[in-house]
Subunit: 337 residues, 2 copies
DNA sequence: TTGTAGGCGTTATCAT
DNA sequence: ATGATAACGCCTACAA
């Protein structure tokens, strides 16, 4: 393998490097480099000549070489529990937009809600010498492997100890749900929750708001699945019920289905509020009122936090307010032709 | 900034490099390198000493340096129209699994169904010297920018000319839908489609199968949105109707909703079949029968194709068969308690 | 089994 | 405005 020969003569097998361009242009490699970095500083005539030559030779600076000398990869690692979940999709969108604006790209890995997989994803990401990292709903939290001075930005409500964090004001979400049910004149409430701090926070906001108005509520602990929502309905219907707040849209879907199966009219007899405002919410029957997480904005903020972290700056956790999206399940059906 | 001093003495600010490890271990950097590559070939005693030292120094080989000398980035670029779409999520999952098994990672970028964004995403990906690339439902097709001998693997039904491709047998999907409607004794059919080759293929399979049994059908052209599905129902109900095949689950959702609004019983009076078997299908009311794309397997195949392409091997396009997932919208409701 | 040394493709400093 | 040249961190013949 006469490697030197091949690389200098036979164009195509390996693209022309900076040396070859410099040689053919009759300048030093430094000048070529400058053309692609500080274009202004080089004589406009030689610059154009080099640009033309480079493009005819199919040359462009190698990211590999550039990364090495700059000590950066321009990559941000991103760990997501599950790419399919629409809420995460919106977050990723926000992350991509901000990062792209700063010339950085997203290295993706999924944790599939398993601690071992999450750690493996982190190691995998670290192997690529990323400049930063973002984890959505981390399971292992600050036990995530790291390297150099890389800091992970967390998008999660827990644990509270994590320094660099973006989270949703879940308690406020619970409050909004309660207000919506109160607004539509309900009196017999129920909360369909799940384990974990997210649900607990949502319930607290819900409970506080109801109590302030002199109401109590019953509760059911599910697991965010549609099926657990159906179980919840079955159990809660043993008593008086006209207002349900479910901690997730999937559970709310189950509630709707079970009420439906019993011929109960929504929202006339029972109103239902979900959480997340996932893509399914407006497709359910009836269309589901839900508490929306500003997922895009949260992703964008996480990206900015990560960018700041790279530059040594450190920011306080950012807490986002949720927003009520009122649909048919708590009010009169929208006009449908 | 006495950079050289800092890097050689003050551990921490910049992690130890291979030189430092070699120096402290009293060996050459070549030996240290071998420990992390051809571990077997180095004396087990020195190896353990080096491993211990490296870990105490927090040393691990720099991906930057390694990539440069090997001329590879171990990155595969992935362009997705929209991360949120659950079908794509499953594909990404398949891609990640296969790639991870080969020590490669996913560099993600979204096209948001816009040609300009897709091209920009490709350029962005190319800047990172990826070893390969995969595009899901590309808009610009073979006009995607490329470099070196990098070849994009397409997951898409069109254009047919693309050499490296994974696609679904849409015609077979249409056939399955027709068979299911025939099986449940329907006689007055309708197809709710959209523009593009995917829909055309699905319709062909649907039409051929019906005609073979002596049936005809009416058609409506929507745009994959729920709203267009509702319009379809409104129009189609002008004539006799008891079996609808919609080219997408969202349109099917619209069909269901419109039928519902008119008090039409599903599946008793009208049966509905969707396409994709997206996450929403089992959540609709009633649960939607749909034609499933083997998204995970398709993603996995795309990844394998890309891996092969890197090694110079070239494969023929792979065509996947869809699968019927029967639910309530075409048959008796499942037992619900 | 281990060391030597060249090179991967670029950037950036210091002269000129 | 341009050229030499020293890194960047690592891998890998080749030699010992």
């Amino acid at each position: 393998m006469t490697d030197t020969e091949a690389s200098s003569t036979k164009a195509g097998s390996r693209n022309a490097g900076i040396r070859e361009v410099a040689r053919q242009a009759g300048v030093s490699i430094a000048t070529v480099s400058r053309v692609f970095n500080n274009a202004e500083v080089v004589n406009s005539e030689t610059r154009e000549r080099i640009v033309a030559l480079a493009s005819s030779l199919g040359y462009e600076p190698s990211a590999l070489g550039r990364n090495l000398v700059r000590g950066r990869s321009y990559l941000i690692g991103l760990i997501v529990p599950n790419v399919s979940f629409p809420l995460y999709g919106a977050m990723i969108h926000g992350i991509e937009d901000v990062l792209g604006r700063h010339g950085m790209s997203v290295l993706l890995a999924s944790s599939h809600d398993a601690a071992a997989t999450e750690v493996r994803a982190a190691q995998n990401i670290l192997r690529h010498a990323v400049d930063g990292g973002i984890v959505i709903n981390s399971i292992v939290g600050d036990a995530l492997p790291t390297q150099r001075q890389l800091g992970w930005v967390h998008v999660t409500p827990e644990p509270a100890g994590l320094p660099c964090r973006v989270e949703l004001d879940n308690e406020e979400g619970g409050r909004l749900a309660a207000l919506e049910l109160l607004r539509t004149g309900r009196q017999h409430f129920a909360y369909v929750g799940a384990k974990g701090r997210e649900s607990a926070d949502r319930e607290r906001g819900f409970a506080l708001t109801l109590r302030k108005m002199g109401f109590d509520y019953r509760r059911f602990e599910g697991d965010y699945s549609e099926e657990s929502g159906m179980r919840a309905s079955a159990e809660l219907l043993a008593g008086p019920l006209d207002g349900v707040f479910a901690a997730g849209d999937l559970m709310a879907a189950g509630v709707l289905r079970a009420l439906h199966a019993r011929g109960i009219k929504i929202p006339d007899q029972v109103a239902v509020v979900g959480f997340d405002d996932a893509a399914i919410a407006p497709l359910l029957y009836p269309r589901l009122t839900s508490i929306r997480q500003p997922a895009y904005a949260m992703g964008a903020s996480a990206a900015e936090l990560s960018l700041n972290l790279m530059s040594g700056r450190h920011n306080a956790p950012i807490i986002f307010p949720p927003e009520l999206v009122a649909r048919e399940s708590t009010g009169p059906p929208q006009a449908s032709f």
